[in-house]
């Protein structure tokens, strides 16, 4: 089988130095080094135009289906326990008869695809706070500029900013909510702020503590700003929100918000890795999800000899955290994960394992994943990662993904 994605030769040293420097200073990519390796791959990935179209179309259908399912789930609290939501969030959503869903705008998601022996497969959706804007945006454009072959897909941050601009209008104000203590997160917010500025939108970077909610409307109140935003962009994981005290700091992320949110925290309803376990109870048809996502069950239903056939994932795990795969995860770690899944099965999901296909790169054999961004349901960029093993985790490198030949049509 000819792989639809391949790795190119690395950029020459002088060009790579320029790309790295511009990624830092033009694109706010501050975490370029991780121990002994650069987190940015010097060799970009090339994907066939036909495969880009396949993935873009699939992602757009997945987004439409997911949002329809989220809307139904919001009004079906009897299914929320299946999703493994934290108790504090369950309590808030249980009152859905008295509350309206939060006002939402500019929904952004990232669908992670993998090339397998059965074709493209989806491992998960990042529907709550997807990352990768810098790498899929500015960094990819820089690489395309220097490489001279292949076309950069749309910049998801730019598409996102344009969508926000359309919603709030020129001169509108956006609160970019994030954990300010983490420069890894702040760099994303600063990059997005720069994109918003290009579209005539003002932004203020704040922590959740800087936002006050009054009758469902958000207001920024802190030592450096006191204004009412037209829209709140949240880059703070939804499942962390209940840690905020008092409760009025966070409940409007889940319901009754009159200020537009991107994304509302109800995104957790489809972000949960146990979302597929609720499918059979939903009226919403999910044909594209059923096509691309491997079978997913509750760990309590796993056969005794599940290893090698199934993958264990925590309900709200990110970046491959605590994923248990026999032969990949260290044995003691896998045993711990298996015990935890047996003890608290509703906090885990078991996904049927697929056969990831590797590609050859100048650095050796690597396993790629392709994240497809959607903004308001339209495919809006590609986020490539390269892992040494059959698990995309924090050790994976970020790779620019360029499209062979024709200009991208979807966006």
């Amino acid at each position: 089988m000819i792989p639809p994605i391949s790795s190119t030769s690395p950029l020459p040293a002088d060009q790579w130095a320029a790309v790295r420097s511009r990624a830092i200073f033009d694109c706010c990519k501050w975490d370029v080094q991780s121990e002994d390796h650069c987190v940015l791959a010097r060799s970009p990935l090339l994907i066939d135009a036909a495969d880009w179209q396949t993935l873009a179309t699939a992602a757009e259908r997945l987004a439409v289906e997911a949002l329809a399912a989220e809307r139904e789930l919001f009004h079906r609290p009897e299914l929320h326990q299946i999703l493994g939501l934290p108790r504090t969030i369950l309590r808030q959503l249980a009152h859905r008869d008295r509350f309206e869903p939060p006002a939402e705008a500019c929904r952004v998601m990232r669908f992670d695809f993998h090339h397998t022996s059965d074709g493209w497969r989806l491992s998960e959706v990042n529907a709550d706070v997807p990352g990768g804007f810098i790498e899929a945006g500015g960094f990819t454009r820089l690489v395309a500029q220097y490489l001279g072959c292949g076309t950069a897909p749309p910049d998801p941050a730019s598409v996102y900013a344009a969508a926000i601009s359309e919603r709030v209008g020129t001169g509108g104000l956006v609160a970019l909510v994030h954990a300010t203590a983490y420069s890894d997160d702040r760099q994303v917010m600063q990059y997005l702020a720069a994109q918003l500025a290009k579209h005539g939108v003002r932004s203020i970077l704040v922590s959740p503590a800087h936002l006050r909610w009054n009758s469902g409307r958000a207001r920024i109140e802190c030592s450096f700003a006191s204004e009412t935003p037209d829209l709140v962009v949240r880059f703070f994981p939804g499942e962390w929100l209940p840690e905020l005290q008092p409760r009025v700091c966070w409940i409007n992320y889940f319901h009754s918000s009159l200020t537009f949110q991107s994304n509302p925290a109800t995104a957790l309803l489809i972000q949960s890795k146990r979302f597929p376990i609720a499918w059979n109870y939903l009226q919403t048809p999910l044909p594209t999800w059923r096509t691309f996502l491997p079978e997913t069950i509750c760990p309590s239903q796993l056969p005794r000899n599940w290893r090698g056939e199934w993958v264990l994932k925590p309900v709200f795990g990110r970046v491959g955290r605590d994923v248990g795969i026999a032969g990949i995860t260290q044995e003691n770690e896998l045993a711990t994960i298996a015990r935890s899944a047996k003890r608290s099965p509703t906090e885990w999901a078991a996904q049927r394992q697929f056969d990831l296909l590797p590609i050859a790169t100048p650095d050796g054999t690597r396993f790629p994943s392709i994240g497809v961004f959607t903004v308001n349901g339209a495919a809006s960029g590609l986020y490539g990662r390269l892992a040494r093993k059959r698990l995309i985790d924090h050790e994976a490198q970020d790779a620019a993904v360029l499209i062979r030949g024709a200009r991208p049509e979807a966006s």
Binding site: S21, I24, F25, T180, E221, F224, E243, R321
Partner: protein
């Protein structure tokens, strides 16, 4: 000089240690900051050269008094097998790094805190304390700017050993972190440093931790140093302002040491501090702020 040029002075392409110069502090400078700085006379962020020399000489004397074993501070030329980790308040760290240039060390800033929203603006001075910001980075940036001419003028060898510069205040807010305050506290992680294998491959056999009035490293730094120590790198500790020699230490095992998901757990452990803010951590970090 642009901020990119400033960064390239601290992270030249031919030094093996340059990849670990953390860009965060440099990226906080506005693109036109350095171009505008000379035009701001009385409020310039630049310290007068004479004063800078005094500071650096003072720091150099302090470093001289460390009497670090196997390092002859009065000798010219780099100590071949020793790296330094300086964990002092940020500006002092940079000054020690500047003094170490003359000893043949290459300073490697590892500052992770972002600037407050109005902390670094074109044409304005870098303040010692910025109201409403948990950890002011003004002093760190000013010290970097002050030390730049010395570094740019130095003829460091390609194999000059590193002196990693940390801000000891990274988890210690200068103001109570109430809800309105910009919380830019930060931690460092093993991923922010070279591995023990890389150190050994580049001739480093021992690391001297330089800090104030303590022997054991801060909790987050313990994760780094213990990994190195486990891999056979000797770890010594020295205190500034004392003439006692550096002493070998056994780095105490921090919680979650070598946990596969230590970094992720630390992030997930991010909790709202009991007086507000978002830089407080559970577990070993609970007392930090």
């Amino acid at each position: 000089m642009t901020r990119e040029e400033l960064y390239s002075i601290w992270a030249p392409s031919d030094s093996p240690w340059s990849p670990w110069v953390m860009p965060v502090a440099f990226a906080q400078l506005p693109p036109d900051f350095l171009a505008a700085a000379p035009a701001a006379p009385a409020r310039s962020p630049w310290v007068l050269p004479g004063l800078a020399d005094q500071i650096q000489e003072s720091t150099a004397r302090s470093l001289n008094s460390l009497s670090v074993p196997e390092i002859d501070w009065s000798a010219v030329g780099p100590p071949a097998t020793t790296a330094l980790v300086v964990d002092l308040p940020g500006d002092q760290s940079v000054m020690v790094g500047a003094a170490a240039i003359a000893r043949g060390y290459r300073p490697i800033p590892v500052f992770a805190s972002a600037a407050g929203p109005a902390e670094v603006l074109p044409g304005l001075p870098l303040a010692d304390n910025s109201p409403g910001v948990a950890v002011s980075i003004g002093p760190v940036l000013r010290a970097i700017l002050d030390a730049t001419p010395r570094l740019a003028g130095a003829s460091l060898a390609l194999d000059s050993p590193p002196v990693f510069l940390l801000d000891a205040r990274r988890m210690s807010p200068q103001v109570p972190v109430t809800d309105g305050v910009f919380d830019n506290r930060s931690k460092i992680f093993p991923e922010d440093f070279p591995s023990a294998r890389f150190l050994r491959e580049h001739g480093i056999a021992r690391v001297i931790l330089v800090q104030q009035a303590r022997v054991q490293p801060q909790g987050d730094l313990s994760h780094v140093l213990l990994r190195w120590q486990d891999a056979g790198i000797a770890i010594l500790a020295a205190e500034t302002g004392r003439s006692e020699p550096a002493v070998p230490i056994t780095v105490e095992r921090p919680s979650r040491y070598r946990a596969l998901w230590y970094r992720a757990l630390a992030m997930i452990g991010l909790k709202r501090h009991n007086v507000g803010g978002f830089g407080g951590f559970q577990g070993e970090w609970g007392g930090a702020g």
